[in-house]
Symmetry: C2
Subunit: 233 residues, 2 copies
Amino acid sequence: MAEDDRRTIPEATVARLPIYLRTLADLAASDTATISSERLAELAGVNAAKVRKDLSHLGSYGTRGVGYDVEYLVYQMSRELGLTHDWPVVIAGAGNLGQALANYAGFGNRGFPVVAMVDTDRSKVGSRINGVPVRHLDELEDIVAEHGDIIAVLATPAGAAQDVADRMISAGVTSVLNFAPAVLNVPDHVWLRKVDLAVELQILSFYRQRHADATATATASAGNGEPAATGTG
Amino acid sequence: MAEDDRRTIPEATVARLPIYLRTLADLAASDTATISSERLAELAGVNAAKVRKDLSHLGSYGTRGVGYDVEYLVYQMSRELGLTHDWPVVIAGAGNLGQALANYAGFGNRGFPVVAMVDTDRSKVGSRINGVPVRHLDELEDIVAEHGDIIAVLATPAGAAQDVADRMISAGVTSVLNFAPAVLNVPDHVWLRKVDLAVELQILSFYRQRHADATATATASAGNGEPAATGTG
DNA sequence: CCGGGATCGTTCACGTGTTCACAAAGTCGC
DNA sequence: GCGACTTTGTGAACACGTGAACGATCCCGG
Ligand SMILES: NC(=O)c1ccc[n+]([C@@H]2O[C@H](COP(=O)([O-])OP(=O)(O)OC[C@H]3O[C@@H](n4cnc5c(N)ncnc54)[C@H](O)[C@@H]3O)[C@@H](O)[C@H]2O)c1
Ligand SMILES: NC(=O)c1ccc[n+]([C@@H]2O[C@H](COP(=O)([O-])OP(=O)(O)OC[C@H]3O[C@@H](n4cnc5c(N)ncnc54)[C@H](O)[C@@H]3O)[C@@H](O)[C@H]2O)c1
């Protein structure tokens, strides 16, 4: 109810806004004018009460008895997420992953144009990937100067990630998305997010393993021959 | 203290175990025999109390006054995470991202061998990427039969992701890692995790936007001309 | 054998996030 | 215009995760 509540959006809510936004954009494209929290929750894969509470943080944009105006929600949400203008992205590391990211159309399409890649491999510097110039890491300061506030995407080997991050940050970067499997230390004023494939796979492995253990012990007394995946100890 | 506590590991803890494990593996490689929770916390970028609490869920493997035995922790953690044997991975979608993943060495190296890719594009079916055969989606059931319990990695267009997931699941898959920007519905017995690049970027965008707003209003009264990034309303 | 120093394991208080439940507030049919 | 119905917005209870504090336990030197 207080002004404060509408300005301080909980972190968990922020993480869901992009999902809502994508869902709502789809709905808008299919000419849906209004949507209830119930239906939006279903489409976004969350609880309806959560949807209402999340949206309430943006302000009271719903109409009781009707639902939310899709287009208006999209507008407000885009605004809140800072998507009313583009955020230039620089990818560090023009390898396997970096190139895949540069080739990815859904990137620049949605307000995050890749303006440059940086690499230390001189055989790659000077080339272009999907139109994106590969420049030397040493030109980083120039690139930041050219484009202002950029988002840094790290796709270098793990060993180089901290160094590259440090250079990015001292060049003025305050948003970093790290793909390298390394724990990065950044100052308080820098926002860091990470995407770690190995971690995700290991988490899946954990739950699978536990399930296997559970069924193994459960079926052990029953005596059927199911536990096939518990070797190699 | 109870048996129960050692069997039920909190989700938040599970998500951190892979980070600890990676850190510990590095330490083991540099011939470090024991490590304190304080130091491990520093290396893993978390709180020391959290480290101790997390590790206590695995059992009491530390020695007061000394710390934890690195090698033994690595062993117990690998065991808990189910990394004592390989988990075969199948990648759906041999496009940009799928190929990058297949080319990624850090995948098979660490217990997650990519045994096949599946695609519907007949011009891709039959080829090999980094030694990994690209097979048709229709062969999915055969692949699962050949390799047993696999982990499915979805790198198809968003529109196809739910269909492919459904086919994977009905073929017996219980672990899915989704890279497509789509909300997937899966049965309760299936573990689903997602990696969503667009979401990550938009979260970064949010915080950056908010920071820009804050400094803009803060400096507005001071009257300098800094708020350059707030156009396109 | 004992005291000092280090470090773990656990308890406790707190903050954050989730979910239920329901009054408030709107629409729509008649 | 009014009453029935729908759906929001939010208060409150609950679950979960975090971090500080501290007793318990262990090593080590004398
Ligand atoms: N390829 C994948 O599918 C994948 C998946 C998950 C995580 N990752 C991680 O992403 C990172 C990149 O993976 P990759 O497969 O693209 O590796 P890669 O070896 O193909 O590419 C790395 C690139 O970084 C460049 N580089 C090295 N040091 C640099 C520096 N200091 N500054 C700038 N560039 C530098 C190299 O020249 C190379 O072009 C790795 O940390 C990897 O663990 C990759
Ligand atoms: N490329 C990236 O860097 C990147 C980054 C983030 C997210 N993503 C997401 O990952 C997914 C793949 O991206 P991409 O760039 O590799 O796209 P892509 O178009 O290059 O590749 C998609 C592949 O999926 C195949 N495919 C289509 N329908 C299929 C089906 N039903 N079953 C199996 N295969 C099918 C296509 O033949 C194609 O080979 C997309 O959802 C994209 O949004 C990609």
